[in-house]
Symmetry: C2
Subunit: 314 residues, 2 copies
């Protein structure tokens, strides 16, 4: 099933087939032959060979996303799913590559895929970006340095805002223990700080004993509300409090991020900040598509996509 078959059935040349199938600009094709080609293609169930096209154009229609090496939660999972759906609408195929960059030099990766775009959460080095662009990759982007930075900051701002609105005047920030999520944690912390500069930041590991230590220290400082990096850290704070015989929100108010399923199951049910991943995905997709097809896009800030889910802990 090649384009030659379609050409034969439609009674035109292969070039003509290529033109109508690709909507090649500056090539006007008569409506008659156009439909003839389209019908033939549909009738034969023709699908172009991605390999041949990639070889010829030096670029496939695959968008490759490099996943971070820390375990991704359902939030990111949802984001990727939505992104995939959005990109499919534009004929782009979204795939994600898990596993750290250490296993496989990223050059191997994009040489194996020849993607139209490469996305990643962490930033690329200048050398990496250069190499990819030189190889024909249209778009190379570190999500967190750009697209996701603003909403992440806003998450932190919302947390602090919720707490101060509830009358808290001394706040703590529960920072994650895992070095690998720094890139997510930093903008969130920045956001919280922008609304409340005097945050008392403490690292809170994901176990009750260690969390209890942090809780004790916050209490000594007079802190009455804490913003947690995410729901898991928030649950650790809750567990630490329980060990100290403290109750949320009375003794210490706690607010998380993500609204993972376990959040509503926590004791007390966790107040948290959730992100509308569908909107974020749509925006991301728009950016990617525009870049690949060399269109420009009106700048727009993603700030309406996060909101507080009020439950019991704050």
């Amino acid at each position: 099933m090649t384009s030659a078959d379609v050409a034969r059935v439609a009674g035109v040349s292969r070039a003509t087939v290529s033109y109508v199938l690709n909507d090649t600009p500056h090539q006007t094709i008569s409506a008659a032959t156009r439909t003839r080609v389209l019908d033939a293609a549909a009738g034969l169930g023709y699908a172009p060979s991605a390999a041949a096209r990639a070889l010829r154009t030096g670029r496939s229609d695959v968008v490759l996303c490099l996943l971070p090496d820390w375990p991704i939660g359902p939030e990111i999972g949802t984001l990727l799913g939505n992104l995939s759906t959005e990109l499919a609408r534009s004929g782009l195929t979204f795939v994600a590559h898990p596993g750290s960059r250490a296993d496989r030099p990223i050059t191997d990766l994009w040489k194996a895929i020849t993607p139209a775009a490469v996305l990643a959460f962490t930033d690329f080095s200048a050398a990496e970006v250069g190499a990819m662009r030189a190889a024909g990759v249209a778009l190379v982007v570190g999500l967190l340095g750009r697209e996701l930075e603003i909403p992440q900051q806003h998450v932190g701002r919302l947390q602090a805002g919720h707490l101060t609105a509830a009358g808290h005047t001394a706040l703590g920030y529960a920072y994650p223990d895992d070095e690998r999520v720094r890139i997510f944690a930093e903008p969130r912390l920045r956001g919280a700080r922008s609304g409340f500069p005097d945050l008392s930041v403490r690292v809170v590991p994901l176990n009750p004993e260690a969390a209890a230590v942090a809780v004790r220290q916050w209490r000594e400082e007079g802190v009455t509300g804490v913003c947690a990096y995410n729901d898991e850290v928030a649950m650790a704070v809750l567990a630490g409090m329980r060990r100290e015989g403290l109750d949320a929100p009375g003794d210490l108010a706690v607010i998380g991020v993500d609204d993972i399923p376990a959040a509503r199951l926590a004791v007390p049910a966790l107040t948290t900040v959730t992100t509308d991943q569908a909107v974020v995905a749509a925006h991301l997709a728009e950016t990617v598509v525009a870049e690949i097809y060399d269109r420009t896009l009106p700048a727009r800030e993603l700030t309406e996509v996060v909101r507080v889910v009020r439950r019991e802990s704050a």
Copy 2:
């Protein structure tokens, strides 16, 4: 950077380069030229064009995994990461495609990637399998129908075993509310039943009120221990118990599956069953590699990879 460049630098023909780089059988190359070629390739940083190779051979070295449309947790995430690492070791590139099949007919997908193998959690229809195989995909496999079936069953068996070993004689099973995870839930339930046929199965939604209802009913039946589909469902049971003023494990023992981070943070800390994803991934990778390269493999059952993490709830 083409194979011609390598040939020129090494002072041999392109065919020779191809031979040594692919370890072509029935072609003996002198060790001298072999190293000369290898050195030249390394020196130039040569990487073969995946597109050209795919066009020529009709198959890329990409292993495509179709993700289910329900949100994947950190467990599956870890599995995929490990699988990626293992496959990379054999020169295979692992990518995952999120998003439901509804968005994008899977034919589009493998035509865009020409993968060496396609993996999925759910099963493929006979027609789909046929089309893929005809298109040159070496391996098409529904993970849960085959490779993952046994360990999943063993998970259920372990849960029931742990509870009966602790002296419980009337057990319940907390089945997930989400239709989409049936394919995971069924083998786990089967496993639990195989060890304890009289299980009282109840659907437990992920909210405390609904869970409380199930808890009440189990209590009325005299159930003293419940196996939950996963940690989230287990936490729902715990939340339901709390609403009823009940304590685990005294009033009702609860055991989950997955050992998500929140499990150790639950109140009481959740006893659960964990899977050694590294071993599972290694086994899966072995299977895939063997199939792609047409080797056969000794059958081996994955049964030693799950174990109970004993905490407080059971």
